[in-house]
């Protein structure tokens, strides 16, 4: 039967509660002798829920975690006489996803029915695109280093099709309970070519796809919530020999489990070929035991269903106008990997930091936009790098400690920009900058009627801007005071321990209440101590 191949039955254990077991069992995996002689071939089948807010063929809204059977239209329950009405927004989102995956869009795609009897499918057929999918022949490049991938390579996209999600069914005691809230939700099924060679490469593809879906707004790519689901095909063979028999592992709930499943399967195949080199491994569908991280057999190929695919006459063919398509192509937003490349190439900023900015809002790139607003047009690399530090390390660091969510209005980009430029001119110190950020994020949200200016903030903090580009405080005097306060440090310094100058700098900072420029303080101290 099909039971275990369907999604949504209760998982035996939650992710957080099994970390102990994971660690214990994970360490059990020992290296196999001659492991390097074997090559692993991996292909993925991904189901991504379309983020349209409504179901693919009915006006019912989509939902997650709501009271069962509350978002159900008669069509979702397959009531006699109901007909599907295709959500064209879902087609649009699928098209931009296919374009971002460099697919060829079929000018004419059609819908088919896939038949099987089970509780999770009231019509006894799923509407999918079997014969003429929306798109084919795409690719997504994985670069060396992504998710520890060891090479740069393309993952081919075999096809991308639109289809319906099933209901969730759950066995409780002697009964099967069905929740139709998910039934009829629109999915994109993305089938890759078997182009990946390691668990890391497969993980890299899924992570990259998640970012792509979020950026396009076509999906949330959230595996925990089940709106992105992955089936993986794995085969293993010795280099230079024909491909081995593949096994499919279904129901994988995270990238970590995906990688664990591939690893487990790889070891199992190698062990099999080592112990019985003449018999091919049995082709079957397997699941992953999330406790032991070992795969287990669900059903063998011989039990495979005949789905009796048939064109669905209730749905006209989707014919894509080339003009519409080129319009969509032109509107494609900058992809995460593209913005990383552009910013690192242009400004020499760190890839990691750009990724942090992307992570602030993977959909609208608000973080990236904020950064670019702060640095402005035609900036030099130095300002760009400084601004990155101020935003990613100082601002995000501070709000992280206070558990305040980031928002572009928390510190308006113009304010941030003004502050960074003042610091760069040496008119305020970095320490003052930190205080300004601290003040702004802890201050109550400014009322929209009054725009907060940097002047107000400085006034609030009792800090003056040095118009002459010099500190208003007398650094020399403070340094002398510090030297007087710390005779032991001075003695140590004179003995040759130059590191203790930090102690003296600290003393000056304390005396200046943090307004002194540490660089200048150091210069002054060195000068004074020479005497």
């Amino acid at each position: 039967m099909i039971i275990l191949s369907r999604w949504g039955f209760a998982r035996p254990i939650s992710l957080s509660s099994c970390s102990y077991s994971l660690r214990r069992y994970a360490s059990k995996a020992k290296a196999i002798e001659g492991e390097n002689e074997w090559e692993t071939i991996i292909g993925l089948e991904i189901h991504a829920q379309l983020k349209t807010g409504r179901k693919l063929f009915s006006p019912a809204s989509t939902s997650y975690g709501e009271v069962p059977n509350t978002n159900v239209n008669l069509h979702d329950a397959a009531f006699p006489g109901t007909l599907p009405v295709l959500d064209l927004h879902a087609v649009r989102l699928s098209l931009i996803t296919a374009l971002a995956l460099n697919c060829q869009i079929n000018r004419r795609s059609t819908f088919d029915r896939k038949h099987y009897f089970y509780h999770d499918i009231p019509a006894s057929y799923q509407i999918t695109q079997h014969y003429n999918p929306l798109a084919r022949n795409g690719k997504l490049q994985i670069s060396q280093g992504e998710n520890n991938a060891k090479r740069t390579f393309d993952v081919g996209i075999h096809q991308l099709q639109i289809e319906q999600d099933t209901a969730k069914s759950q066995t409780v005691g002697d009964n099967t309970l069905v929740d139709l809230n998910r039934a009829g939700t629109g999915l994109m099924e993305i089938v890759t070519e078997p182009d990946m060679r390691s668990a890391e490469e497969a993980g890299a593809f899924v992570r990259k796809l998640q970012g792509l879906l979020r950026r396009l707004g076509s999906g949330d790519g959230d595996m925990e919530k089940g709106n992105l689901r992955v089936d993986v095909n794995v085969s293993v063979h010795r280099y230079g020999t024909p491909f081995g028999t593949r096994c499919e592992i279904k129901n994988i709930n995270s990238v970590r489990f995906l990688q664990a499943a591939i690893e487990s399967e790889r070891r199992r195949h190698i062990q099999h070929y080592l112990t019985s080199p003449t018999t091919p491994i049995k082709q079957e569908t397997r699941g992953l035991n999330e406790l032991t991280l070992e795969t287990f057999s669900l059903r063998s190929k011989e039990e495979a269903m005949d789905y009796r695919y048939m064109p669905d006459s209730n749905l006209p063919a989707v014919v894509i106008d080339p003009e519409y398509l080129s319009g969509l192509r032109n509107e494609l937003p900058e992809m995460p990997w593209q913005v990383v490349k552009r910013l690192t190439d242009t400004y020499g900023v760190q890839k990691r930091d750009v990724e942090t900015l992307i992570g602030l809002d993977e959909y609208g790139f608000e973080g990236i936009r904020y950064y670019e607003d702060v640095i402005g047009q035609g900036v030099d690399k130095k300002i760009a790098k400084k601004a990155m530090n101020w935003i990613v390390h100082e601002l995000l660091g501070q709000i992280g400690k206070l558990s305040i969510p980031w928002s572009p209005t928390l510190i308006p980009s113009s304010l941030m920009r003004e502050m960074i430029l003042l610091i760069e001119d040496g008119r305020i110190t970095g320490t003052t900058g930190k205080s300004i950020i601290k003040h702004l994020i802890s201050a109550p949200a400014p009322s929209s009627s009054k725009k907060v200016t940097l002047q107000d903030v400085l006034l609030n903090l009792g800090i003056d801007i040095n118009e002459n580009n010099e500190s208003s405080i007398d650094i020399k005097m403070l340094c002398q005071q510090a030297i007087g306060n710390q005779p032991k440090s001075v003695a140590d310094y004179k003995k040759g321990n130059e590191k203790v100058i930090m102690r003296l700098i600290g003393e000056v900072m304390k005396l200046s209440k943090g307004t002194a420029d540490a660089r200048k303080v150091k210069e002054e101290l060195v000068e004074l101590l020479k005497a």
Partner: protein, 476 residues
Amino acid sequence: MRVTKCRLQSLKAPLKPRTSDIHPTPYSWINTCTPGSSTGNLAGISIAIKDNISYDIAPTSCSSSMLKDYNSPYIATCVQNLIAEGAHIAGQTKMDEFGMGSQTTHLPPFYTPVHNSASPSPGEPPRSAGGSSGGSAAAVAEGSCWAALGTDTGGSVRLPASYCGVVGLKPSYGMISRRGVIAYADSLDCVGVLGRDIDTVEHVFNVISRPDEGDMTCASSSIRLTAFDISQRHLPHDGIEGLRIGIPSEIKQKVSSGLLDYLRGQGAKVEEVSLPSIKKALPAYYVLACAEASSNLGRFGGGWFGSPLERQSRIEGESGEERRKRIRTEGFGREVKKRILAGTWALSADEFNNTYLKALHLRQLLRKDYQNMFRIPHPLFSPSIPQNQAGVDIILHPTAIRTAPVLGAKEAKGSNEYQQDLLTVPASLAGLPCISVPAGKGQDGWPLGVSLTSQWGMEGLVLRLGRAVEQWSKGQ
């Protein structure tokens, strides 16, 4: 005029439909609610609907045990349109289970039979009303409703119309919304109209032939406009003057020469035409209809729709799968099971290419035959496709190979059945409008009908020629 008188009669004193547990009746359900006083094109007029068209106050059972006492939670679009124009839904009419049959004899055991009321003399053994919309045709013939909706997948409106001596229109595929019509075969199913005369049928058709966003296969306003423009250009100014009528050489049954002479006399041209693919296309119909039926009927037995049988819980020790098998075995009649099995077979991985795909191809060939034969361009296709200027406008042939058969009589299987399907199925496969109009009597005194088929969207044309046939019949 007879037509007007008839309509007035039905408005003033409509015959009450009757239902009975003992006596034959075309109705499976009678609407006892008194029609509300309303205005509209159909104000106060009684219209019956077939038992597979969803109506929320009626048990829409498709004349199947599977859906016995199933109460649809919504109203089909076509019925909504009728009600919006003030029509009173007289009741639901019996049919062959899920539309599968041609005599309205595939009924669940708790239904009394449907008798054809067109008997020329009392005391004759009861005859079939045809099927699968036999209840609708019989209800119109007995006068208990002004008109009735049926559905036509391969002749289910036209054959009963011929047997019962009424007019039956199967419109072009996509003219009337199928939303709420319980599917037999989606690519073939059409809602049809049965009435005493052409005027009645046209009147009802005009009310329910409109776009529906709830059915993606229902023709849009723009396509309807195109079709209307084309039909205006080809409709004769007066009567049937200049109309070209084709008689397909592949069909053995001929209409009376008297009728053809009359039509020629009215200015029509009659000529022989050929549809070379028509015979090969016939098996395609069985494959496609059964395949689609096997898919559409898969939903029954899952326990979703609230009929008591369907909702039955598992027997002790029974698995969910076994329960489904039992409910489907008990709930479907013999003919339905036969067609589901045939359709399942046609869709199986081993057969699909050789059976289903070939059927699609043959259907395509037949469509091409029709397009090559018609002088009028197809509104759905690009106007750049050159039309056959020497082509015909309408195809004419008998609707049935015989008058209504006596109920319970052993039918000679095989050739007869095939010959009959040749008369109704091609228009369904091609999605073309086809009307059956009473045209005289057989030697036994029972009614006979002729079928008129035209280009997609040319309902106006078939109704126009239908009127001429009606005139001729009156003179008989």
